[in-house]
C-alpha cells in the first residue's frame, strides 16, 4: 500500500528540502521505491540538493498540463536506483498547477511507488495547500525557535482542515521532526527543549536532527546527507526517522557524538 507523505513547516528555511531528500533517500536505501516531488514551483531546489539539477528536462507542471508523460519527467537517482525525483518548474508559477491535474499525477505516482514524498513550499497559500492535499501522512519540520513553532501550529491546523483526509472526516497522520537542534544550548536553557516543543504542539515525535556541518557539506555536493555522510549524526537521525515512518517502534533519543579516545586523539573530518 503506497503512502503519500508531505514534508511541510509553514516557515521557510527550517529544513524541508533537506529533510525531504534525506528521508526519501533513507527510505529508498532500505529497498523501498520512493519518489520525491518538488511542489515549490518557481523556486525549485530539491533537484539541486539531490544533485540532479543538470538532468531536468520535463517537470511537474509539464506532466500536470499533459505536455509530458510522467516517465519522461521522472529522474532516477544515480546512487540509489529505488529513488526518483520529480522536479518543479523554475519558470512557471504555481497557478499552472490545477487541482485536477495534481490529483491525476498523484494517482499515477501512487501506482508506481511505495512512497510519494511531497516537498511543500513555505507559507500557507495555495502551493502549500496543494502539496498537503493528497497526503496520508505529514512530517512537520520545526526548529526549536518561536517563529518556527508558531508556524508549525498553524500548519497543523491546516492539515486538520484543508486536506482530502480532513474532508472525508479522517485525519492526516502527523509527525514532528525537530531539526537544527543543539542539545548543549537546550541543556543551558538557551533553546526550547524537545519536551517544550512537544508540549506546545502535541503531535508525536519522529526524530531529532542535530545542528551539524554535515548537512551543509552534503547539500554543497548535491547529495542527501544519508548518502553523502551515512554515519554522521544527522544521517543517523534521518535513518531512524525513516524506520519509524515505515512502522518500526524505536525510542527517540537526542543524538550525541560518541567519540572514543583515539577518535579524539586523531580528530579527523568526515
Amino acid at each position: 500500500m503506497s503512502k503519500v507523505l508531505v514534508v511541510t513547516s509553514g516557515k521557510g528555511g527550517v529544513g524541508k528540502t533537506t529533510s525531504t531528500a534525506a528521508l526519501g533517500a533513507a527510505l529508498a536505501q532500505s529497498g523501498q521505491n520512493v519518489v520525491v516531488v518538488d511542489f515549490d514551483v518557481g523556486l525549485r531546489n530539491l533537484d539541486l540538493v539531490m544533485g540532479a539539477e543538470r538532468r531536468v528536462v520535463f517537470d511537474l507542471i509539464n506532466v500536470v498540463q499533459g505536455d509530458a508523460r510522467l516517465s519522461q519527467a521522472l529522474i532516477r537517482d544515480k546512487r540509489c536506483e529505488t529513488l526518483s525525483i520529480l522536479p518543479a518548474s523554475q519558470t512557471r508559477d504555481k497557478d499552472a498547477l490545477t487541482s485536477e491535474g495534481v490529483a491525476r499525477v498523484m494517482d499515477e505516482l501512487r501506482e508506481k511507488f511505495d512512497w510519494v514524498i511531497c516537498d511543500s513550499p513555505a507559507g500557507i497559500e495555495r502551493g502549500a495547500q496543494l502539496a498537503m492535499y493528497h497526503a496520508d501522512m505529514a512530517v512537520i519540520v520545526t526548529n526549536p525557535e518561536v517563529s518556527s513553532v508558531r508556524d508549525s501550529d498553524r500548519i497543523i491546523g491546516l492539515l486538520d482542515s484543508k486536506t482530502k483526509k480532513a474532508e472525508q472526516g479522517e485525519k492526516v497522520d502527523k509527525h514532528l521532526l525537530l531539526t537544527r537542534y543543539d542539545p548543549a544550548r537546550a541543556a543551558r536553557k538557551e533553546m526550547l527543549s524537545v519536551e517544550d516543543v512537544l508540549e506546545i504542539l502535541s503531535i508525536p515525535l519522529l526524530g531529532i536532527v542535530p545542528e551539524s556541518e554535515d548537512v551543509l557539506k552534503s547539500s554543497n555536493v548535491g547529495a542527501p546527507v544519508t548518502l553523502a555522510a551515512p554515519t554522521s549524526l544527522p544521517a543517523r537521525a534521518y535513518f531512524e526517522a525513516a524506520r519509524r515512518l515505515s512502522g518500526e517502534k524505536l525510542e527517540v533519543s537526542v543524538p550525541v557524538e560518541k567519540r572514543g579516545f583515539f577518535d579524539w586523539l586523531f580528530k579527523r573530518d568526515a
Binding site: 501550529d153 482542515s161 484543508k162 543551558r188 536553557k189 526550547l192 517544550d196 506546545i200 502535541s202
Partner: protein, 93 residues
C-alpha cells in the same frame, strides 16, 4: 561556570520565556485562527452561549472568552464569562 553564572545573573532562562510566550500566543490563535474546523466550533459555541446568557443578563460580547486547549490525551474547553457588578451583588444578598 554555569553554576556561578546562575548565582550572579539570577535572570529567567530565555527558553522558558519563549515557551510561555508561545503558549499564550497559540492559545489565542487556536481560538481565533479563522480557518480551522476548531475555530468554527468556537464561533458557534460563542454565539449560542451568548444567546443563553443574553436571555438572563446583559453581557458585553467581549466579556465572554471561549478557548480550546488542544492536548494529546484530551482537549480542554474553557469558558470565561465576566458577569456585571449588579448581578453578582444581587446574588450575594
Amino acid at each position: 561556570m554555569s553554576f556561578l553564572a546562575n548565582i550572579f545573573a539570577r535572570r529567567q532562562q530565555s527558553s522558558s520565556v519563549a515557551k510561555d510566550r508561545l503558549q499564550i500566543l497559540l492559545a489565542h490563535e487556536r481560538s481565533s485562527g479563522g480557518e480551522s474546523g476548531e475555530s468554527d466550533l468556537i464561533r458557534q459555541l460563542h454565539k449560542e452561549i451568548m444567546e443563553v446568557i443574553a436571555r438572563h443578563v446583559a453581557v458585553d460580547q467581549d466579556k465572554v472568552q471561549i478557548k480550546v486547549d488542544r492536548g494529546s490525551g484530551c482537549s480542554m474547553l474553557e469558558i470565561d464569562v465576566e458577569v456585571p457588578q449588579e448581578l453578582s451583588g444581587k446574588r450575594a444578598s
